[in-house]
């Protein structure tokens, strides 16, 4: 049975993958799922298709109520609030925000009356972007450096191995806090880059270990005898053969990166406000948990993080099982 079929036969891995694909879809389609502008509307005879994506200048500056009142056709997004819209609901409320879930805000609101569901959907972008793209960078660096070390040996191996040791001993969160302080590392790109450049150690270690077994095999020697260079051997022969185990590890790395981003946002030093992130919602939950008891601010973003990390782990486990030649 091929690894892919084994993976598909694995029920838990399948569930994990579906959840993950769902989250990814939510992140990609966030603007269509939750926006202050509708999916379709017709105002004064002009039809706007997906104004929530195109944000036409003609609708700019119009309040939702005004737009709704003047529109002949109005189809709102499934969650009819944008992530940054404050106190957007029309219901009369007598206590200060945060407001508990009701028929207007299905998952409640945060302290500024912003819709939690809308913020969760848009927050998925940040989490998944940071997780996936930083690990993609980790993979590129880790694979190349790990395999280079395995192939070349000697000084190159020694240098890379020491570098891996140094990197894996620095706690990422503290490194990030330091960089934020010293060099104003902030924002989505900077965060991704720092995670991408510093967390490849584990992957490189794995690639190197796998690579060391491969370089002694006949097909590598044959290809070398045929005159192939380092780059070609690594790319054509080593990478495909170590990719499996490294991918397993990468799945867990994505989960870890998402947790780092959440922790950083929770500490108030993540992606700058007003961008919605899961960690930022948890910060608010921390403040409001006992009084007035805003459990929804803790439960829903917490569940999102747990769901994402959990499903990544299921996928990772599934990958490991399906790639295990002994299975």
């Amino acid at each position: 049975m091929s690894p892919w079929r084994r993976f598909r036969a694995d029920r838990r891995a399948r569930v994990g993958l579906r959840v993950l694909v769902g989250l990814l879809a939510a992140a990609v389609l966030a603007d269509v799922l939750a926006s202050e502008l509708p999916l379709f509307c017709r105002v004064g005879g002009v039809t706007y298709v997906l104004p929530c994506l195109t944000e036409p200048a003609a609708l700019r500056g119009l309040s939702r109520q005004a737009l709704k009142a003047s529109a002949e056709l109005y189809v709102p997004t499934p969650i009819p609030f944008g992530p940054d819209e404050t106190f957007a609901g029309t219901k009369a409320r007598f206590t200060p925000a945060p407001w508990s879930p009701d028929d207007e805000h299905l998952l409640g609101t945060d302290e500024l009356g912003r819709d939690v569901a809308a913020r969760l959907v848009h927050g998925a972008r940040v989490s998944l972007w940071v997780g996936l793209s930083s690990v993609a960078l980790n993979l590129v660096l880790g694979l190349w450096l790990g395999l280079l070390a395995a192939w070349r040996g000697g000084v190159v191996d020694a240098v890379v191995s020491r570098l891996i040791e140094v990197l894996t001993t620095v706690p990422t969160l503290f490194l990030l806090l330091t960089l934020i302080g010293l060099w104003r590392v902030q924002g989505l790109w900077a965060l991704t880059l720092v995670l991408g450049l510093t967390r490849w150690g584990e992957l490189a270690r794995l690639a190197r270990a796998q690579g060391l077994q491969l370089v002694r095999q006949d097909f590598v020697a044959a290809s070398r005898a045929l005159g192939a260079g380092t780059g070609r051997i690594i790319a054509r022969h080593l990478v495909p053969n170590v990719l499996g185990p490294v991918l397993v590890s990468a799945a867990f790395a994505v989960a870890a990166a998402i947790l780092v981003e959440s922790a950083l946002s929770f500490l108030g030093l993540g992606v700058a406000p007003p961008t919605a992130t899961w960690g930022e919602l948890l910060t608010q939950a921390h403040r409001t948990l006992t009084h007035p008891g805003a459990w929804w601010l803790a439960l829903f973003p917490g569940a999102c993080i747990a769901l994402t990390v959990g499903s990544l782990h299921l996928v990772g486990e599934g990958l490991r099982r399906s790639l295990d030649p002994a299975a």
């Binding site: 302290e111 104003r184 030093l269 406000p273 403040r287 569940a303 959990g310 299921l314």
Partner: protein, 566 residues
């Protein structure tokens, strides 16, 4: 999938007491009194005959780096302020009952005379005072304390600025001190008498940053230092050798709990006799007359009092956008004050326009706050030359886009709520505001070096008067606290004149003029005065809130049997 959801819930649940807020609050439950709601101590809280004994546990929200009241790195922590009076004593203290007026009552000095030209101050010290380590208090200790402050090698810059004009200090005998000033200064006498905690000469010897008294203070007050468990608590006990009326309490425990949520939980469990810095959201939540709030409504007196503080947003005037006062006025008109008051401040903070104490005469009542008026603001911005550009709708002038970065302190709950509102308001008129968050230490250093576009801070002091020279005089741009780089020759002249005006009534007139000018120039976007929000167990007696905080020397605990509650 189902299993996974349960797992997710389990991960989240232990951290929270997920009791849903009651939908229809049952009206039956303890009804808070009017005084409780206002945060006023009822009369019975200060009645009865004081008895000695007991331990008072106070929540402190921050832990100082040390307890040396002279050291720059150790002075702004709340706790050090609590200890002025109980542990450390000054020559005289600000008359707590008469605040915000500027009277002094004798403490370690019994009397003093000022010369007619305001240049010489003679202080007569109290005899028979001993430090907690047994040494006598004499003029040598006054000299050592002043010298420690004046020594430029010591990190004492913030106190030193008050003593730059001190020409000489002589000690004709053990109990007389004569200070001579090189030029007159209206607050010189007050500062000399009330701002210096007297430390023993012996304890000030050695490396100033690592003095033993930084960890274990030695003062002359009614409480003596006992222990400091870092990150946990500080304990003080009644000092047997105290020269004055002994304190009632046997022991003072300052519990360090930085996290407000944790502090609230500990408070609810009854861990604090005096809870401090209650979060506005909690303050409001415990007002509902429901059984779940009985512990607070029946067990505690709420105390709210106006401190001398004000918060502001500063626009760095070196930036092209903020040079023009019209732009700063427009920004003030974009500040959604009503929304902030309702949703962020929960009706607790008081909007202000004034850099002086709200209850003092120095604020001119005729200054009216600029109204929230986005259309008016847009017109002002147009007038100042910041025109909306076709296309992206962002304003620009001479090729400069109106896009700036707001430097935010991640620990401020209020800013976290306020900033998103501001971003939205500014965006509507074509101003792009980005947000950068940095940690407190970096935040302050960047403000000092003017390395910011916009930022927010609060000034606070525990006195009723405030010399705003350091904050608004153009000379204080470098090294002072004029972080926004404000420079107005008129205000400079007024601030200089205030320092030379010894008649309080005349000073008030000048201060009102400064208030009017600063507001017209919108040197800051003045935000609010934040009242202190505290609560004390009903058995805590003798508390009286004032600008100089509670006087722990006068606090006593009613015996449990006689505790009738309220």
């Amino acid at each position: 999938m189902k299993r996974l959801l349960v797992l997710a819930a389990l991960i989240v649940l232990p951290g929270c007491k997920c009791k849903p807020a009651p939908v229809d609050p049952p009206a039956r439950g303890p009804q808070p009194t009017e005084a409780w709601l206002k945060g006023e101590l009822p009369p019975e809280a200060n009645q009865g005959t004081p008895v000695s004994g007991g331990t008072l546990t106070v929540r402190v929200p921050s832990e100082p780096a040390g307890l040396n009241r002279l050291h720059d790195q150790m002075i702004d922590a709340t706790m050090v302020r609590y200890l002025m009076g109980p542990v450390y004593e000054t020559l005289a203290e600000v008359d707590r009952a008469a605040l915000p007026e500027n009277g002094q009552t004798p403490l370690l000095a019994t009397s003093w005379e000022e010369s007619a030209d305001h240049l010489t101050l003679t202080v007569h010290l109290r005899k028979g005072v001993t430090f907690h380590d047994g040494g006598p208090f004499t003029s040598r200790d006054v000299r050592a304390t002043v010298e420690a402050v004046r020594n430029v090698k010591n990190q004492t810059a913030s106190l030193r600025s008050q003593f730059v004009d001190l020409a000489s200090l002589s000690t004709p005998d053990d109990f007389t001190v004569v200070a001579r000033w090189s030029k007159p200064y209206a607050y010189a006498l007050h500062n000399f008498l009330t701002s210096l905690p007297m430390m023993s000469a012996a304890s000030l010897q050695g490396d100033f940053d690592t003095l033993p008294v930084n960890r274990a203070p030695i003062g002359t007050g009614p409480f003596r230092f006992e222990s400091w468990e870092t990150g946990q608590k500080l304990t003080f006990v009644r000092a047997p050798q105290y020269w004055g009326t002994p304190a009632y309490l046997d022991r003072l425990v300052m519990r360090v709990v930085k996290d407000d949520t944790v502090a609230t939980q500990l408070w609810e469990q009854g861990e604090f006799d005096l809870m401090t810095r209650i979060q506005p959201g909690v303050w409001r939540a415990i007002e509902a007359p429901v059984g779940a709030n009985a512990w607070a409504i029946e067990g505690y007196h709420r105390i709210s009092f106006l401190e001398n503080n004000y918060s502001w947003i500063g626009w760095n005037e070196e930036r092209p956008f903020f040079k023009d006062a019209r732009v700063r006025r427009a920004l003030a008109m974009l500040y959604p004050a009503a929304e902030v008051a309702r949703h962020v401040d929960l009706g607790i903070e008081l909007p202000t326009t004034c850099p002086w104490y709200r209850l003092s005469a120095s604020c001119d009542p005729s200054v009216t706050p600029l109204p929230y008026d986005p259309a008016g603001a847009a017109a002002l911005l147009d007038e100042a030359g910041w025109k909306v550009r076709e296309g992206d709708g962002v304003r620009e002038k001479d090729g400069v886009r109106f896009r700036f970065t707001f430097l935010a302190n991640p620990h401020s709950v209020r800013l976290a709520k306020l900033v998103p509102l501001l971003v939205t308001e500014l965006k509507r008129v074509g101003i792009e505001m980005d947000v950068e968050k940095v940690d407190s230490a970096i935040y302050l250093s960047r403000m000092r070096t003017h390395d910011f576009d916009a930022a927010s801070l609060a000034w606070s002091t525990n006195e009723g008067v405030r010399d705003n020279y350091q904050v608004f005089h153009s000379s204080q741009r470098d090294g002072g606290s004029n972080y926004v780089g404000y420079a107005s020759p008129e205000v400079d002249a007024l601030l200089e004149k205030i320092r030379l005006t010894f008649d309080p009534a005349a000073r008030v007139e000048l201060e009102r003029e400064v208030h009017r000018k600063l507001y017209a120039d919108q040197v800051y976007l003045f935000l609010t005065n934040r009242p202190a929000l505290d609560a004390a167990k009903t058995r805590v007696r003798g508390l009286s809130a004032s600008l100089a905080w509670y006087d722990l020397r006068k606090v006593w605990l009613a015996p449990a049997a006689g505790d009738a509650g309220h």
